[in-house]
Symmetry: C2
Subunit: 337 residues, 2 copies
Amino acid sequence: MATIKDVAALAGVSTATVSLVLNGRGQEMKVAEATQQRVLTAAKTLGYKPNTSARKLQASKAEKPTIAFYWPMDLRINYLTSILTGLRAEIEKLHFDCELLICTYHNDHLDEEQDLMDSYRYSAAIIGAPSEADMNYLQTLKTRLPIILFNRYLEKYHTVCSQDESPLRNAVNLLTAKGHMRACLFHPDSLYTVSGKRLSMLLHFAEEAGLSIERNSIFSVEDSCDGGVIAARRYLSLDHPPRAILSMSDTIAIGASSIFSRKGLVMPTDVELIAFGIGDPSLSHFANPSLSVIEMPSHEMAENCIDIARQIIQTPDFPLCHRQIPSKLILRESCPE
Amino acid sequence: MATIKDVAALAGVSTATVSLVLNGRGQEMKVAEATQQRVLTAAKTLGYKPNTSARKLQASKAEKPTIAFYWPMDLRINYLTSILTGLRAEIEKLHFDCELLICTYHNDHLDEEQDLMDSYRYSAAIIGAPSEADMNYLQTLKTRLPIILFNRYLEKYHTVCSQDESPLRNAVNLLTAKGHMRACLFHPDSLYTVSGKRLSMLLHFAEEAGLSIERNSIFSVEDSCDGGVIAARRYLSLDHPPRAILSMSDTIAIGASSIFSRKGLVMPTDVELIAFGIGDPSLSHFANPSLSVIEMPSHEMAENCIDIARQIIQTPDFPLCHRQIPSKLILRESCPE
DNA sequence: CTGAAAGCGCTTACAG
DNA sequence: CTGAAAGCGCTTACAG
């Protein structure tokens, strides 16, 4: 990289002159027109780019703390909005003067994110949706960068998790109380850590409650509305489809719902459905029919992440903390009380 | 702010020792345990935070270019997802090694954003959804920071705008061709620059086509599903409600649709609706009934912003450019062909 | 009108 | 085991 020195040498002037000219203070300082031109040309020739660190250092500007939010660049980008609003909302509420950096990464490749190790770039990092491999990496990672895990648990980092055991149990019990003996399951084909845990929890509760979920009525599809369309089609092709559906994703449920209504299948009369509400809550609220969900408190979880980040940054010796935010079972038209 | 010098003074050692200890290289360098403790204590006492600029400068790390994306912190946060995915998608596609910073601001207060003037913090800024006042500010702003306006036009900056004149005209013509003489209008109460322009364009086309939009059938509501609920209720309370509805926001349309279906009003039999699709396209696609929209090409617009940003950063003398991306009229159940 | 020099806060060879 | 010194790239008084 060319520095101001190189430019000065090429233009045959001092670095001071270069600095002045390049910062538009040439006229003000009455630098000769010819000199200015030489400097400009030299800068262009060398492709000179000022080094911002040097500038900042010189200006001794107090830097704002920077919080990096890591989120994988895949379908779950849809879940980002409610988290992002939560993060920003809390930042505004606390009047916390910081920069929020959105860093996207690829699952299983969190170890390629240099900045998690070169800990000086950020004041804190919030990491969302790491895969199993990413979690293993995080477990072994040595870094001074304070890390907050979003909806994942690791003893060594701060964590903010949703607590959905009891609403999930209630959901299953509600279905059996309504007389359902069998249920169908829609779930995202990419089985991430948490959805995996949720799934086994669900299967466990179902067994406990005597709700049978047969192998051939478990549909694994892409976590998108299109995926939901496919799940619904498979469901409709079953010989004796169960009248209850559990969907691990609200996005899938919305896609499925569009097919059901097109095929004249009415909820809750013909089918009853409960989904995990992971995305924007208004999606399931204003769906038609509206969806019963176990709503993940993304917004509140995000707020907690910021709260923790702020305390880490502002309070020396802020102790490691693990927070749990309860999910809520919200019953609507697709499976009323 | 305490510096490493202050810590060194308090601990009674040199700055080198402080640096070593604080960077965890104490053991490695065999710094006496007692010395280390003194340093640690001193640092804690003074609340020492390393200056990242100094660190970066020292390390002479080539900095990644930083692109700041400014978006107002209000309801339109819902529109962020599709833009954000577009931005990230293009960054990935181009293998463009940069940092994307999401900066939220308050409308009418863009002038309070220091970093737009202190141009050395970012390599480029993409500004979304500025208000009239913000636009005036931008018009007068002097900065060396390259700025790209998202869906706003100003001669002096790079711009990427949606072009929705022709789909809008087609939408209006479709309604009149179907025999509609009157239409109802739902629009967000916060009339931002562009929605304002769209609105007057719409009114103009409607007049041209002989589609009457009466004063009492224009409903201004919050730009949210809840706002749509209110608009729908007002619509239902009209004596002779027009059978055509134009909604300036898809979010409002979704809220309204939920009320219509609850009240047994069927689209397109009882009402026909066309909305501006501003948010995530799958929302209107998978709504029930699915929504006819004039779809703003947010994703593509975002891609163009990144493309421009990259060229600005990498190509010296990249000329000012103004791009227009056409919107598309997509007809679905709420107002079929 | 232009240059030499100091200094922003840090890290890292290099002495001792 | 610890300190003095150089240097990262820039800007800004201060001379001349």
